[in-house]
């Protein structure tokens, strides 16, 4: 009985993320004398967690197939720039479609090169990372795009990140919807089964009739779509966007997914864990802000967290294996 409970707990990929989150929240709250747990701080942490989580969900799907998408930070910027840029000059509805469509297209481009030419995804998406970051800097020319008061009052703008409901930003609701939908797709629909199969053993999946190229195309497309969506939500709630928007966020998205229990070699995925991973990173970030520590140190801390998480993943896997041998 004791062993089977332990087995169940260890079998869940998000276990280490849950444990680390619980310890961390306690630590952050105590060491800031309760400030960290204040409503104002939680409000901001929940919003920035939601934005990162939506991007990280897409990354988690890509990682589940054994690939990686490092272009998401740039796609995030494109989504934000198109939404605000086109929204203030043309029309918000058109801007929404173009922003999401743009993200989807970049994802499809990444996916097509990976799926049909078998170019390593790190290389392909590194290319699109530079390409679209260059475009982001190019179109903003060192300035930023801001949303006018008129635009900010529009319904689409509010639904897409502008509004707070009961103090909680709509991005949080969007993240929960995305979590629910993607969790169902991954674990209760054929597509999820095939995504995990491709990550586990692509040749075996292929031999069973799985269209491996299509699976790869789909996860990259979703990753692009979600990154653009996250960028839009973030830009709408802040109200402006510049060329550096979302820079280095791809690393946080990868870290969130890995912290959450997604295996970088593929075949193992947890979206709930990814949400917790995103929360962990953003919680630590806000802690540094409260303590008045320079944000540059966050990068260092990010590195430490990722290394520790990958180590704990190894330890957990070994423990799990030993338990299953019984």
């Amino acid at each position: 009985m004791r062993v089977s409970l332990a087995r169940f707990v260890l079998k869940r990929p998000e276990t280490s993320a849950v444990v680390v989150t619980a310890i961390l929240v306690t630590f952050l709250t105590i060491t800031t004398g309760g400030t960290w747990l204040s409503f104002a701080n939680l409000q901001s942490v929940s919003r920035i967690t939601a934005v990162l989580a939506i991007m990280a969900f897409g990354e988690a799907l890509v990682i589940s197939t054994g690939e990686v998408d490092v272009s998401v930070g740039s796609v995030f910027a494109m989504g934000a720039l198109i939404f605000i840029g086109v929204g203030r000059t043309v029309n918000l509805g058109v801007a929404l479609l173009l922003a999401l469509g743009g993200g989807l297209l970049i994802g499809l481009l990444n996916g097509a090169v990976v799926a049909f030419f078998r170019v390593p995804s790190l290389i392909v998406t590194l290319g699109t990372l530079f390409l679209f970051r260059g475009i982001a800097y190019g179109v903003t020319e060192g300035f930023y795009f801001g949303a006018s008061d008129e635009v900010r009052s529009r319904l689409i703008f509010n639904v897409m990140g502008g509004a707070n409901l009961g103090g909680v930003n709509v991005a949080v609701l969007w993240a929960l919807v995305a979590l629910l939908v993607l969790h169902v797709v991954m674990f209760y629909m054929p597509m999820g089964n095939r995504i995990l199969a491709v990550g586990g053993n692509a040749a075996s999946a292929y031999s069973r009739g799985v269209n491996v190229a299509r699976v790869r195309l789909i996860v990259f497309a979703l990753s692009g779509l979600l990154a653009a969506f996250a960028g839009m939500l973030d830009a709408a709630s802040i109200g402006y966007v510049d060329g550096s928007f979302g820079e280095l966020m791809e690393l946080e998205a990868i870290a969130a997914a890995v912290l959450g229990g997604c295996s970088l070699v593929g075949g193992r995925c947890s979206l709930l864990g990814t949400l917790l991973g995103a929360f962990l990173l953003r919680a630590v970030g806000s802690y540094l802000v409260i303590l008045g520590i320079q944000p540059q140190w966050f990068i260092l801390l990010l590195g430490v967290i990722v290394v520790l998480a990958s180590l704990s993943d190894r330890v957990l896997t070994k423990l799990l294996f030993r338990l299953q041998q019984r």
Partner: protein
């Protein structure tokens, strides 16, 4: 040619190159419905390569493939499966990270549609997966929700065969199906191959166990260095002769290396 029946599968002058390695050389062969064909030959003779073409894993570099007299022009496992080819592969077919139930139905998951959205029928996957486990002499303790990685070599093999038998339709290809199996399970697989043939399936059976296959097959195809060197009905060749040919070769390859 040799019979008035039309072949189910027909390969014509098939060549297959893996880069600079020629795995199949000008192979022409017919397979008929309701026969059990033993495909034999030395390691690296091209047996797996030949069946990989039929099950859509690889496309021939040149030559023609016909199914029901229809020329096959695109090669993809999904297409082969849809046309009725079920295969137990030699080295692929299982995803270690997925549960037994999920592996069983991988690629053709049973679904229940709610508002048109396909949800995996987990209940059915578990039930059929469990049936396969018990029917195929896997340990009672094997859990359908457990990862395939936890199965032993023989259990993995038994699982692959059970799955292929479950999904069988017209053509069953078994690539060294008795590897890792106990004597009892081996008997079982051989009996099954005969039964399926009697149900008028075409069974293509690859093995290195010449005496076993000689007992059950109707016909043997011998490959040597990628070329077909013999295609004989059982009554025209003894098991000893069969073995001798495989061991000594027919010596018509003029010493040409496989790679070049």
């Amino acid at each position: 040619m040799e019979t008035e029946r039309a072949p189910l599968i027909s390969l014509r002058n098939v060549n297959l190159w893996y880069g600079t390695v020629q795995a199949l050389r000008d192979v022409s062969v017919d397979f008929y419905q309701g026969e059990l064909v033993g495909l034999v030959g030395d390691n690296g003779a091209g047996k797996t390569s030949l069946v990989n073409i039929i099950s859509g894993i690889v496309a021939p570099t040149s030559g023609e493939v016909y199914l029901d007299g229809q020329r096959i022009t695109s090669f993809h496992p999904k297409l082969a499966i849809d046309l009725g080819v079920e295969t137990t592969q030699q080295s692929v077919g299982l995803c270690d990270n997925l549960s037994i139930a999920r592996n069983y139905f991988l690629g053709r998951e049973p679904v229940r549609r709610i508002a048109g959205i396909p949800f995996i029928d987990l209940g059915k996957m578990r039930k059929e997966g469990r049936k396969a486990i018990t029917a195929f002499g896997l340990r009672e303790s094997v859990d359908v929700d457990g990862e395939v990685a936890l199965l032993s070599g023989g259990e993995r093999q038994a699982f692959k065969i059970a799955r292929a038998v479950y999904f069988r339709s017209r053509i069953l290809i078994m690539d060294e199906p008795t590897n890792n199996l106990s004597v009892r399970e081996r008997e079982r697989v051989n009996d099954l191959a005969v039964q399926l043939k009697d149900q008028s399936l075409l069974v293509i059976y690859i093995t290195h166990d010449i005496f076993q296959i000689h007992r059950i097959a109707d016909r043997f195809i011998i490959l040597e260095n990628g070329a077909k060197v013999a295609d004989v009905p059982r009554n025209l060749m003894s098991a000893e002769d069969l073995e001798r040919i495989i061991r000594e070769g027919v010596g018509n390859d003029a010493g040409s290396p496989r790679s070049g």
